[in-house]
């Protein structure tokens, strides 16, 4: 079993009184491998959050199938196994912590699963250390910053020892510092603990270091590939009103202005500096410093 999550022609629709039947997901085929860091990018209403809620059986497909570690999410008996396998972190850091003390909140999941007390204690300590919040274990959640609260929420999921964590816009309500804390934490969980990460977001800069970027639009997968492959398609992304990194946009604008010989899919600062200094060098704008 190498795919932790697999959807087959996944459809989801609901009926609202005012607008009748609404199709939110329209045939999504997606495979997420174990240990992969997948970012799902899309603007509001693209269906990305609805898709995420299928990954732990919070929503069930109207058509097609969704499998989690081989289990069909429609199978009601497997529901708790599925939610233990795929943990979910939500957007609002204030609204997902239950207890008045950090460590007791982290213990909430394992307690629900009926894990023995000594084992819970061990898991809670490990989970808090994994997100770098161990020294805050006796604090009250409401006194922490947004980024810290979100890391506690992540610890609460890790303590359930899931194979995969789905994060539904975990940084939308955070300041830049909090965003950075959360993103670096989940990268570490993926690389060090081998946890599969599915990051739902509308901030493209958070997806640059992912293994794979999936772009959703109008209930479908529009693009899927490495960040470099996806972000080189500037026109497609612009058409669905999504951003690309400034470096990518800069190179793209230069290409549009007729500058030749620039590669597509430049993402990081260093790549862009390299590309631009080559460009300047070739065109006779020498650096005052010798290159080594």
């Amino acid at each position: 079993m190498t795919n932790i999550i697999e959807t087959k022609d996944l459809q989801f629709e609901y009926t609202s009184e005012e607008e009748g039947a609404q199709v939110v997901l329209n045939g999504v085929d997606l495979k997420i491998r174990k240990g992969e860091f997948v970012a799902v990018l899309g603007h509001n209403g693209s269906g990305k959050s609805t898709l995420a809620k299928h990954f732990n059986a919070m929503l069930l497909p109207s058509g097609g199938k969704c499998f989690v570690a081989g289990m069909d999410t429609a199978d009601e008996e497997k529901r708790f196994d599925i939610r233990q396998t795929v943990g979910m972190v939500l957007q609002n850091p204030d609204n997902q912590l239950v207890a008045t003390i950090v460590e007791e909140d982290v213990a909430f999941g394992p307690e629900n699963m009926g894990v023995p007390p000594e084992e819970i204690r061990k898991r809670v300590d490990e989970a808090l250390k994994a997100v770098g919040m161990y020294e805050y274990r006796r604090h009250a959640p409401h006194k922490l910053s947004g980024g810290q609260k979100q890391r506690i929420a992540i610890a609460g999921i890790i303590a359930m020892q899931p194979a995969c964590i789905v994060l539904d816009e975990p940084t939308a309500m955070l300041d830049p510092r909090g965003r950075e804390e959360v993103i670096s934490t989940i990268h570490r969980l993926c690389s060090e603990m081998g946890i599969t990460i599915v990051l739902i977001t509308h901030y493209m800069d958070e997806t640059v270091d992912a293994d794979r970027v999936v772009v959703m639009d109008d209930g479908r997968i529009l693009l899927s590939g490495t960040p470099r492959e996806v972000f080189s398609q500037v026109d497609e992304l612009k058409a669905v009103e999504l951003d690309v990194p400034q470096a990518t946009r800069l190179i793209y604008r230069l290409q549009k202005a007729g500058v030749k010989g620039l590669p597509a899919g430049v993402l990081t600062d260093d790549e862009c500096i390299e590309v631009l200094s080559n460009l300047l060098e070739v065109n006779g704008c020498p650096s005052s410093k010798p290159r080594n």
Binding site: H43, N44, G45, S145, G146, A172, M173, D175, P176, R177, G178, H202, M204, D205, E241, L242, D243, P245, Q246, A247, R249, L250, Y252, R253, L254, A257, V259, D269, D270, C272, I273, L276, S277, L279, L280, N283, G284, C285, S287, S288, K289, R291
Partner: protein
């Protein structure tokens, strides 16, 4: 004479308790009429506390706020009228919507001002237009709007008071890129058309660079920098030291400069970046021709 001025403004939380904390530390700034000021600083830098002084929601511990040269606390009973002249739109303003219809919600401010029904009506209509809320939405319940529409309706509630100074605390927080661009565009449009003074509190230096003429940087309760966009952003390494994210393009041009290329580092958007590279290329070509 500046329209809004602070003189040695300080604010101390919980004075005399063990939790005493200076949130604003002798800030003196002057804002000219028609200026578009971006206010940046990370969470806890004091920027939100500072702006709540400007419309008299918080009374300074020491120092003064001058509106049109007059101390706003000269007559504490008239502080409400200051709030109509300095409109403040809080972060996540959609959480303050309450009326049965969008119209009534936007009308709340103008009605509190004691304006006539006709005047209220025309202000609501024009505020809704500024944030491009369709007229048919005005009769809907604000709770039935989409996220972006709610945000715009709440901003319209402040615009409808037609304040001389408009302060927006992170109006784009939590929105997707599309929603963010729409709101920033509308604010800029409003400022141009009305010629009013605008303060935009933001985490995003890129957004601030795109719309403002001046930048105020708050750090550790103090005003760390206050000047034009170029004056402030040339000190990008200092800004990075304060934990602020400088735009990627700026970082790239700083990198090019460090490699010895003669580039202008006052570049904040991809468009400015392109123009700067094109300028260098054409200069080189011109140089080669002669």
């Amino acid at each position: 004479m500046p329209i809004l001025e602070t003189k040695e403004l300080s604010y101390v939380y919980g004075q005399g308790t063990p939790f005493e904390k200076t949130a604003v530390d002798s800030v003196s700034i002057a804002i000219d009429e028609g200026e578009f000021v971006g206010v940046i600083g990370h969470t806890g830098s004091g920027k939100s506390t500072l702006v709540q002084h400007l419309n008299g929601l918080i009374k300074p511990t020491s120092g003064a706020v001058l509106l049109d040269g007059r101390d706003i606390w000269a007559e504490p009973k008239k502080i409400r009228s200051v709030r109509f002249e300095v409109g403040l739109c809080f972060q996540y303003p959609e959480y303050q919507l309450f009326a049965e219809t969008v119209y009534k919600d936007i009308a709340f401010g103008p009605q509190n001002m004691g304006l006539s029904e006709d005047e209220v009506n025309s202000r609501v209509k024009s505020a809704a237009q500024f944030v491009s809320l369709k007229p048919e939405l005005l009769e809907k319940s604000p709770f039935d709007l989409s996220g972006g529409e709610k945000r715009r309706a709440a901003i319209a509630g402040v615009l409808a008071m037609e304040p001389k100074v408009l302060i927006l605390d992170e109006p784009t927080a939590g929105l997707d890129p599309k929603g963010r661009d729409v709101i920033l565009g509308q604010i800029r449009e409003y400022q141009k058309e009305r010629g009013s003074t605008v303060l935009l509190v933001s985490h995003s230096m890129e957004d601030v660079a795109r719309v403002s003429s001046k930048v105020l940087v708050m750090n550790e309760s103090k005003c760390a920098m206050y000047g034009t966009v170029d004056e402030v952003f040339t000190r990008s390494s200092e800004l990075a030291g304060m934990g602020l994210n400088i735009p990627q393009v700026t970082r790239i041009f700083l990198g090019l400069k460090a490699r010895g290329y003669d580039v202008n580092t006052c570049v904040y958007t991809a468009r400015q970046g392109r123009d700067e590279i094109l300028r260098l290329l054409s200069k080189a070509r011109g140089g080669a021709a002669t």
